[in-house]
Symmetry: C2
């Protein structure tokens, strides 16, 4: 399937009207930015860039797409011809995937004719808004876990295709693994899993179930011990597996109290190296609350794949400049209300003092000074050609490293969970 | 792409372990249900069923899928062989798409061997949890709009594939149209659109932009009037289009106050039939708040595609019964904590008195009495064959009708927006 119909109808009717009067061919600059950080968080994490580059490449109107548009009379025949030949020939530069961002950060700068750029609005925002929403939640969980490993296991709480993107975004933000096999196959993300309650319930006894799992996966596996009684479950697990059991998983109850009790029981049984994984409706606050508990790993579902209260990152795609008939550039911005935006093409630098970020500096127009810190935008598409290093599993691995490095650079207040102001200000120059 | 890897890794390792000890071939019954309604709403709306049936049909492990599983050593060679031949051969019955539901409603009953049923868990829940979350939000917006038309335009705030499913679910719940072209092409949903601020900003004047849109789309179109000054925008719109202008769209400001002012202005200009569409961050509460305002139509984005505060419906997929070695059926349910579930295969009837629903009656075991009301479960898959009437655009159209009929049957309290108890109780018999 092409990505070309993953588009709001008005993008095509705007092309139709502006090809008819010629304005659609005006050289233009669009920008993706967020007016604020969702949930009054301290910083954001850009995710989805590598997926967006694939979507841009696949953004072609095939025969079926065109037939649909023709049958629905969405655009004129002349515009159908233009769409049939469509491929993006412009330039895109933007924040590297995994980079931290702040309100007003010029996350993506898209240059080309109005018509070829405007049509990418919907798919660009769909990809970036969802993936960044997940990354924004995931990075806080990673901070809250303070080095303990996190696994993403929320596929069943997200649309089945979104689930793959969610696993990818969580991994970029620092999760260690996912339960989603398609994310492993598509993006090279480590996959993991334990067992469900149905597995235990299928068998004639918990002991029989545990034995079956160990026979198949070895004693290094993690046994789910809370189908019946947790204390009996732990006893049975160690009786069947021996003290070399890899781990136990607890998916219910008061996790603080239960983890303490299970740790004591495992130690008393001699299973001092058996790890405890907890998985019941965790979010960043619950993870922080388990910081003093003898928990070795977290499995996170619903909250990470739904952005932990902020399921869309709120990014917008706005025309910021276009060429006039005399060849001069006109900066533009909507100005009827409080949604005031800054017109003009922008370049962003993270100002650093002693290696610590102090300001998101956004230069409007051409006079950027990168010597004050770190230039944030990298080339993503050049004259229609995707810059390959951002794609595939290699792109994901690089984004994960970029994310860790960007967060290490932020002031220490960045990792506080409490709502507040962005940890550095955005200044337009 | 197959749907087979859109699956949690543990589903396959459970198959591996239970094929090895033979338990995986035990005839089993799984059930999808929700322990509660998200957001303390009064009723839920099932959505996603037609999409799930497509996913079940495409649930095959192709060569690439198997190669990935082999390279990652997820399961044994014997299990790889079993997966290579996999196709679901069992039965599924469940609530018709669009049906209202309540806590404990047996939404889907899946029968077959443990192994062939358990592997559908992830994709079944992904589809139903997301689509139903959208439908649950959308139905409240439809109620709040009290007959005024709603358009779904949230694609840019959802994952790009989820966006198509969201448009579909919102339509089933009673929305009139979507901005998403792919949803139109795939599911026969009416598509609509106006124009973006970028369209106006591209042109040298608002007048030039409006003229271009009218030239392309006719005077029946809807002009976006809030890029600069709304009052001037309305004046310009009528000057360019004449009093036959189809509509104006307002995307910012205090909508209650602005709608009143714009209506008065349009009427004074003689454009008494020009409709007012409002679109700025609406949810069911904002829509209800506009009930007394001279608004003709609503466009809803973020809130509907993200479930208006409840982005996943919280449905679970649980083993409720399996056959023992002696051929007898064993009802099962997890019992270690407060997540108490009801074991056993279930049949559901909506009890009606004078045509009004009074109870969700769930019969455990075989003695259902449908004479007390309306049987809620319909055949969806029979011995592996999908029941075709639930699929495609015809399935969507039928689901939309089913939804309207099911809600009409509920007590009038069902449409209250305030949090509360389910509008009818669920009783297990």
């Amino acid at each position: 399937m092409t990505t070309a119909l993953q588009t709001d109808r008005y993008e095509l009717t705007m092309i139709d009207a502006t090809l008819a009067n010629g304005r659609g061919l005006r050289p233009s600059v669009f920008e993706v930015f967020a007016r604020r950080l969702p949930g009054a968080r301290r910083y954001g994490v850009v995710a989805g860039t590598g997926r967006l580059l694939d979507a841009i490449e696949q953004f072609r109107f095939d025969h079926a797409d065109l037939a649909f548009l023709r049958s629905e009379r969405v655009v004129s025949d002349a515009t159908l011809d233009w769409l049939a030949d469509y491929r993006f020939t412009g330039d895109v530069r933007g924040y590297g995937e995994g980079e931290a961002y702040f309100p007003g950060s010029p996350l993506l700068v898209v240059e080309g004719s109005f018509a070829e750029c405007v049509v990418l609005e919907t798919v660009a925002l769909s990809v970036l808004n969802y993936d960044s929403a997940v990354a924004n939640a995931a990075t806080r969980m990673v901070q809250a876990a303070k080095g303990r490993p996190l696994a993403e296991m929320g596929s069943r709480r997200a649309n089945e295709d979104a689930a793959i993107a969610a696993a990818r975004a969580a991994y970029i933000a620092g999760f260690r693994a996912t339960s989603n096999l398609a994310a492993g196959a598509a993006w090279g993300i480590p996959t993991m899993g334990t067992a469900a309650h149905s597995f235990t319930l299928l068998h004639d006894s918990e002991e029989e179930a545990f034995q079956a799992q160990i026979d198949a996966l070895g004693v290094g596996t993690t046994l789910l011990v809370d189908t019946y009684d947790i204390e009996q479950g732990v006893d049975t697990a160690i009786r069947v597996a021996g003290t070399g059991l890899g781990g136990v998983r607890i998916d219910s109850g008061d996790l603080v109290e239960t983890a303490q009790r299970v740790r004591a029981q495992l130690d008393a049984l001699g299973a001092t190296d058996t790890r405890i994984t907890v998985t019941s409706d965790l979010d960043e606050y619950a993870i922080a609350g388990l910081g003093a508990s003898p928990v070795d790993a977290y499995g996170v579902g619903t909250s990470v794949v739904t952005g932990s209260g902020s399921p869309a990152a709120g990014m917008v795609y706005k025309l910021v400049a276009h060429q006039a008939d005399d060849g001069s550039w006109v900066d533009v911005a909507k100005r009827s209300d409080g949604k005031a935006s800054h017109g003009g093409e922008k370049t962003a630098v993270r100002t650093l003092v002693g290696g610590v970020a102090t300001e998101e500096t956004v230069f409007v127009g051409g006079n950027a000074d990168a010597s004050i810190g770190r230039a944030l935008q990298v080339p993503l598409v050049q004259q229609g050609a995707i810059v390959d290093e951002h794609r595939g599993a290699a792109g994901v691995a690089a984004a994960r490293e970029r994310c860790a490095a960007a967060i290490a650079e932020l002031p220490s207040d960045a990792t506080r969970l409490a709502r507040g102001e962005p940890v550095i200000p955005t200044v337009f120059r």
